[in-house]
């Protein structure tokens, strides 16, 4: 598999960066998230966390069901500050 492949599109993280980190001993998603910012972008890890979980399983003896997903944090998707303050003049 091409290791230059982007696994986290929000933060431009490649498969190689992810695998290197797992090889270094980062074997939980919470730790990987904080080291690489993987899953910290606007999509909140909808794509990359699943991929990262699979890679951890491949490289360690963990099984998918052993892998804890990081907390989902609000808001579910991005909200403009103007919407939060009830000022929608800029919104067309």
């Amino acid at each position: 598999m091409n290791e230059d492949m982007i696994v986290c599109r929000c933060e431009d993280i490649t498969l190689k960066e992810l695998r290197d980190l797992i090889a270094e001993g980062y074997t939980t998603l919470d730790e990987i998230k904080r080291a690489l910012r993987l899953g910290m972008g606007p999509c909140q890890g909808n794509i990359c966390l699943e991929i990262a979980a699979r890679e951890i399983c491949k490289m360690t003896d963990k099984k998918m069901e052993d892998i804890k997903m990081p907390s989902k944090r609000p808001p579910i998707s991005g909200i403009k500050m103007s919407e939060l303050v009830g000022d929608n003049q800029n919104e067309k």
């Binding site: 939980t28 904080r34 080291a35 909140q44 609000p74 808001p75 909200i79 500050m81 939060l84 000022d87």
Partner: protein
């Protein structure tokens, strides 16, 4: 797991990791750090990531200045694998009353006397540094160009890795459950993975400092309270300094990756270990920040989180050995500014633990609360 250690440090946040590193650096062997979750999973990893040297007491100015000097050289001194993302874009502090501005003048005198390069600014000068700033009601400001930001996860991890290279043993996902004492001496620490015999323990448990102290039968006046934060999507660099005000109650900074990180202190927050996010925070934060920096209206909030301030009655930490239990050291109660003073705190704690003369005078003993010797720091959030 080891069953014996020279010292057991409870807490794998930046404080615990930094103390471990400094002890190992000074030659101590058999150091164990216990972390109930993962590295930086508590207050370190949820902090606002700001570093400022603009304080109102000499001790805090020195602690933060010496810490900043360590941050400035950290990539080299700790031989980090991943850059700590230090950004020295400055801190712009806004005063909203003549009284507050007068205090700022005093602070600047003090800061300049120990070579912190801060300066007093007129409203016009503040506007020159942050042209987008809404100056309504602003009476004046101060600015220190060497204040800024570092990535808390990276800094914490850098200390962990440097400490490991010097032989420190970190046990993550390992919970301290009890501290066994006999005749006012520590005998062992009981964990959920086994017992470690030791005569020395460091309480670096952040939001759980009181609970860890109570394991040793020591009560300390620390309490935890939630502080919430939000982060926006990444945009091009447009805001250089951290913009902050005590009276308007806000801090907002654009971090190196381009996102804005901001928060405020809720005066009605109850003491608890709750770290859930609330929509009330989201709304109020948006109102406050867009009033001060109107361009933020077009930027999206993408995530909220919260962490614990571990506060003391005077909002200053406790760096001390217990007078009731020999070998029980405390580095707790940082009251929201532990990350920024962690590097030098680690140096001082290592000196204290090894019985050396401290390289700086501090009056952060736990007895100050009994004897009404509180530290009157005017510039805390």
């Amino acid at each position: 797991m080891r069953n014996k250690a020279e010292i057991v440090i409870i807490g794998g946040g930046v404080i615990g990791a930094c103390i471990a590193y400094n002890l190992a650096h000074k030659g101590m062997k058999d150091i164990v750090v216990l972390e109930k979750n993962y590295i930086a999973s508590g207050s370190t990893g949820s902090c606002g990531a700001g570093i400022r040297q603009q304080w109102g007491t000499e001790m805090n100015c020195l602690l933060s200045k010496k810490s900043m000097e360590i941050f400035e050289n950290m990539n080299e001194s700790l031989k980090v694998k991943r850059d700590i993302e230090l950004k020295q874009g400055g801190y712009l502090l806004l005063a909203y009353s003549e009284k507050e501005f007068k205090q700022f003048k005093e602070n600047i005198k003090l800061q300049n006397s120990i070579d912190i390069p801060s300066q007093l600014l007129t409203v016009k000068e503040a506007k020159e540094i942050v042209p987008q700033l809404n100056i309504d009601g602003v009476k004046g400001a101060t600015y220190c160009s060497t204040d800024g930001h570092a990535n808390p996860f990276r800094v914490n991890q850098a200390y962990v890795e440097a400490a490991k290279r010097k032989g420190v043993q970190f046990y993550t996902y390992t919970r301290a459950q009890d501290i066994v004492t006999q005749n006012d001496e520590i005998k062992s620490v009981v964990t959920d993975r086994g017992v470690i015999e030791t005569n020395k323990v460091v309480n670096a448990a952040g939001g759980f400092s009181k609970e860890v102290s109570l394991m040793a039968g020591i009560d300390i006046p620390t309490k935890s309270e939630r502080h919430q934060i939000l982060v926006t999507e990444q945009v091009n660099p447009i805001l250089k300094p951290m913009v902050m005000s005590f009276s308007y109650n806000i801090y907002c900074q654009q971090i190196p990756d381009g996102s804005f990180v901001m928060g405020y202190g809720d005066p009605d927050e109850q003491h608890s270990h709750n770290i859930k996010s609330s929509w009330q925070f989201l709304e109020k934060m948006a109102k406050k920040s867009t009033y001060l920096l109107p361009f933020l209206k077009d930027i999206r909030v993408i995530r909220q989180w919260a962490g614990l301030y571990n506060v003391t009655p005077d909002a200053q930490p406790i760096l001390d050995e217990s007078d009731k239990l020999k070998g029980f050291f405390m580095a707790v109660g940082f009251s929201g500014h532990g990350f920024m003073i962690a590097p030098f705190t680690g140096v001082l704690m290592a000196e204290m633990i090894l019985g050396e003369r401290l390289s700086m005078d501090i009056k952060l003993d736990v007895k100050r609360f009994e004897h009404d010797r509180l530290i009157l720091e005017p510039s805390v959030v």
